[in-house]
Symmetry: C2
Subunit: 312 residues, 2 copies
């Protein structure tokens, strides 16, 4: 039921989905979708508080989808709705994994070297004490092992320079904690080096991570606009763009938000994917695929192992 | 003397410079450059502390260039060297303007709508109490009036959402302070909206601002790499790129760091431009042009007026 274009985009995505249970208002779904439906009479609206699935709307689609996961009837859940409500609901219904103080949102962005960078936290915790960043590093490494298939992911701590003297108080306090972890910690890392391929996992607080992710998206969007402006009144150059449109299409497919299936909520005892509110059908399919990959890889168990000090 | 390619890039830029005094080691400069030289026997190295121009190296080029400004013999100074030393030296030699608690670094980045966004602080203050952000807003608005020619620049406070409930503790505490200022404050602003054109000045702490600026640069670099990869083995698409290379060149000219002349140090009683360490000759020329524009517009006086509560 969530997202700016719900349930339309979910209906559009449905034919390509298998082994998926839809949770929401049955009267809004067309006949013959071929997918089972768990009826949920309530909907968490964007104006609702984050605790709506806990108290005011216990029969909302967010709450009931999480119950499916908790009961073991679903391997994971995907929502493109109220992310704060999904987060609060997930902690309430699924519970935190042992050793996890706060859950974190992680997503991957494309690096310039063709690899991927897992970035966390993306906004679950906008104010973080240094200890939380160490937890994010453990969980992020487990995510990179399961989802990105890396045996020994390189983890960096986002900073404004790679020298030890750089960084704000938070980074300086977190640095020794991350250095003491049983993982391949690269050190303080600038965005430039991270996007060139110096690390596989980049750790920061949720405010900075959210700003970083949105800045990547905003820069891609602004670049496309500016390039279009430069083409105005240059027909030969426009022909050039037409000739290379295949490359641009492949580039967009690689870099668009809908390619990445949204953010995964790390630290709860279940697989929860928070899709973008502006998700289209492709993004919904990517989100389902991401949830499936995390479930198949036993991500919650791997995160719990990582938090217990093992390799995850 | 500063920067990775000094003094070569300065020498290369020299023929295009007028009314410029070079400060540095005379023996490293070729004859017949046509520019007067203030000899400075010492050089602040990147490994030196930020206080080197104050104590250990009082005859360094950074210190002596600042003295030229303080004595009124130069209208402003440009350095591509140790930015921490330039900052500390500028506060020591030129002093802070009345009402300024901490100076800030500001630079402009291109927006998708063809306009420019002034972003501050870029790293002079990696840990900021909320009051400092209000000072940055005043100084940033004065900068936008003088350098960007805007009468009533729109100022935003960087946040992870435009709703009042979003933002970290710092943003929430700064919000009422910025709302009380005598300027056109738009409210909490996401990077996406800022780069689409919603604001002319974006205020944040120096850690986040540094990360944001480097993320823009990193995304542009990564996009170019990824697009090149997509072209591999597609000769027709490569031909397309060749046909549109003029647009790409104009786009790079608009968006490259060297187009912007580095960052300006706001809040000190003089015009100080901190160029990128990787500056080329074009970046040096841009930095000199920026310093001249700030000096001609009486920027320090306008900043002092803005801090005193006026329009700047």
């Amino acid at each position: 039921m969530g997202g700016d274009r719900a349930p339309g985009v979910v209906i559009e995505a449905a034919p390509a989905l298998r082994d998926v249970v839809l949770v929401g208002r049955p009267e809004l779904l067309p006949q013959g979708l071929g997918l089972p439906v768990v009826p949920a009479p309530e909907v968490v609206e964007m104006g609702d508080g984050a605790t709506a699935p806990l108290r005011a709307k216990p029969r909302s689609s967010i709450r009931l989808a999480l119950e499916e996961v908790a009961a073991g009837r679903a391997a994971g859940m995907v929502s493109c709705g109220h992310s704060g409500a999904v987060l609060a609901g997930a902690v309430f219904v699924l519970g935190l994994l042992p050793g996890v103080e706060r859950p974190a949102l992680v997503s991957v962005i494309p690096r310039g070297d063709g690899g991927s960078l897992a970035l966390l936290d993306l906004g679950a915790n906008v104010d973080c004490k240094p200890e939380l960043l160490a937890g994010f590093a453990r969980m992020g490494a487990a995510y990179a092992r399961v989802v990105m298939g890396l045996e020994e992911p390189r983890v960096g701590l986002l900073s404004n320079g790679e020298e030890r003297g750089k960084g704000n108080q938070q980074v300086k306090a977190a640095l020794p904690l991350l250095e003491a972890l049983p993982l391949r910690f690269v050190g303080p890392t600038e965005p430039t080096d991270a996007l060139r391929g110096a690390v596989d996992v980049l750790v920061c607080d949720g405010f900075v991570g959210n700003v970083l992710l949105k800045t990547v998206e905003a820069t891609l969007e602004a670049s496309a606009s500016l390039l279009r402006r430069e083409l105005d009144g240059h027909p030969l150059e426009q022909l050039g763009v037409w000739l290379m449109s295949g490359a641009l299409r492949r580039f967009r497919a690689r870099t668009s938000a809908s390619a990445f299936g949204g953010a995964l909520l790390l630290g709860v005892n279940g697989v929860v994917v928070v899709g973008h509110g502006r998700s289209d059908a492709r993004a919904v399919r990517s989100a389902v695929a991401l949830a499936r990959r995390c479930a198949d890889g036993g991500l919650p168990r791997r995160v719990a192992e990582a938090m217990a000090g093992g390799g995850g």
